[in-house]
């Protein structure tokens, strides 16, 4: 019953409640890279209680990323659907998001999805996610979304996306 589900979180004050929220957030996917959750992306800055209301702080990856608003709505919907009530989603600009916040799990998922994860050091060569060789050329620094650049593997000749390092 719906009322039963909604009433339940009240019994989980403190940490268990927060854990529930994080587990729901791990199911909210980036609309442009659907294998990555908002937690993998590293854009969730905090989860806190403000009186009876939940507050979730998220950091946009790029100022112009159209996915930011969709993500905010998806988070509110998911928390509500899971009986955690109506949450407020805040935009946190500082410190600005960096691709270093991408989780290890996120980097692995990106590679499996055919996107080379962002470089750890600026000099690190791009790796083709299909053949694994490090012989790629940049086609354009601006790919299909603000966070990606477009490359081509010079060995297997496949074009692929690279998650930009910012």
């Amino acid at each position: 019953m719906v009322t039963g589900t909604l009433a339940e979180p009240v019994r989980h004050r403190g940490l268990p409640m927060e854990e529930q929220v994080w587990s729901v957030l791990r199911s909210v996917m980036d609309p442009e890279i659907p294998v990555l959750s908002v937690v993998d992306l590293g854009i969730v800055r905090y989860v806190r209680r403000d009186g009876t209301r939940l507050r979730v702080g998220i950091t946009p990856t790029y100022s112009g990323c159209p996915a930011t608003e969709v993500i905010g709505r998806a988070i509110r919907d998911a928390l509500d659907r899971n009986g955690l009530g109506e949450a407020a989603v805040d935009t946190v600009l500082s410190p600005p998001w960096t691709s270093e916040w991408l989780s290890e799990e996120g980097r692995r998922k990106l590679r499996a999805f055919g996107i080379d994860p962002p470089a750890r050091q600026p000099a690190q060569p791009v790796t083709c996610p299909r053949c694994g060789r490090r012989n790629a050329e940049c086609i354009s620094e601006f790919g299909s979304t603000p966070c990606k650049a477009h490359y081509r593997c010079c060995d297997c000749l496949e074009p692929f996306d690279v998650f930009k390092c910012i």
Binding site: Y62, S63, G64, L93, P95, E141, S144, P146, I166
Partner: protein, 263 residues
């Protein structure tokens, strides 16, 4: 400027001045972003189409953050949409260079390069502003601007050091647009007031670094730096070239014809 922790200086500046100062930054990003948006579907190659659209998105994203903040400073209930769509040209405070027409691809690249290099210096300085909100917007925008600058500088070198035809066309664009760069670095009373409170940078002090970068890229691009031109362009005070009104007519047409329309 002093570090962002000393917040007291911010309150010394009247909100009206701070509103106009933030509007100058917001409008320059918005107008330049709208200009780049005009390229969508028309760029020379798909990659460039995507690149210009991506840069436009970043610029409009920056403008949205700045316009929202400007509306709060003004305190009259105007949000980002009201400020973007319901102001006329004389109320826009963007730098005149941003509103210049796209021309050919080379001309758009020259305009982009000059403004990217300026925005990098500007945002770098503003990231240390005593106004914490402005500082965090600038720190975010700075990361994006570095990408934009790499793109525009890269293209300027390819076109300048390319064929006789491409060289001649970007040199001509550079000669035509150079006169609008003075406005970016000559402070007026508002700029000086903002610099005195540590909110904005000393504009004249940004110039040497900007010039060093411009000169290095022009040299690689085998382009000639045009002679200095003192020209009284006052876009930042609301006095615009004829081009802005036409651009706004297109940009504002829909929300003005159907107020409050949503989809």
């Amino acid at each position: 400027m002093t570090p962002a922790s000393s917040g007291s200086a911010v309150t010394l500046a009247p909100a009206g001045s701070r509103f106009r100062h933030v509007l100058r930054l917001a409008d320059t990003s918005l107008v330049l972003g709208q200009r780049l948006g005009e390229w969508v579907g028309h760029a020379p190659a798909l990659e460039e189409d995507l690149a210009l659209a991506n840069i436009a998105l970043d610029l409009i994203g920056q403008a949205r953050l700045l316009l929202t903040y400007a509306g709060e400073l003004e305190g009259r209930g105007r949000d980002e949409d009201a400020l973007a769509f319901l102001r006329d040209a004389p109320e826009f405070l963007n730098a005149s260079l941003a509103e210049q027409p796209n021309g050919d691809f080379g001309q758009s690249i020259v305009r982009q390069f000059l403004l990217d290099a300026w925005q990098r210096e500007m945002y770098e300085a503003l990231s240390r502003s005593t106004d914490a909100r402005l500082a965090e917007i600038a720190a975010k925008a700075l990361k994006e601007t570095r990408y934009h600058l790499r793109f525009s500088a890269g293209w300027l070198v390819r076109l300048g050091d390319g064929t006789a035809q491409s060289h001649a066309r970007v040199q001509k664009a550079l000669d035509a647009l150079w006169r609008f760069t003075d406005e970016l670095f000559v402070p007026d009373a508002l700029d000086e007031q903002m610099a005195a409170c540590g909110i904005g940078p000393d504009l004249a002090a940004l110039r040497p670094r900007w010039e060093r970068h411009i000169e290095a890229v022009l040299e690689e691009a085998t382009l000639e730096r045009p002679p200095a031109q003192r020209y009284p362009w006052h876009g930042k005070r609301g006095v615009h070239t004829e081009h802005l009104g036409h651009m706004l007519a297109q940009m504002q047409h829909l929300p003005r014809t159907f107020p409050g329309a949503t989809w």
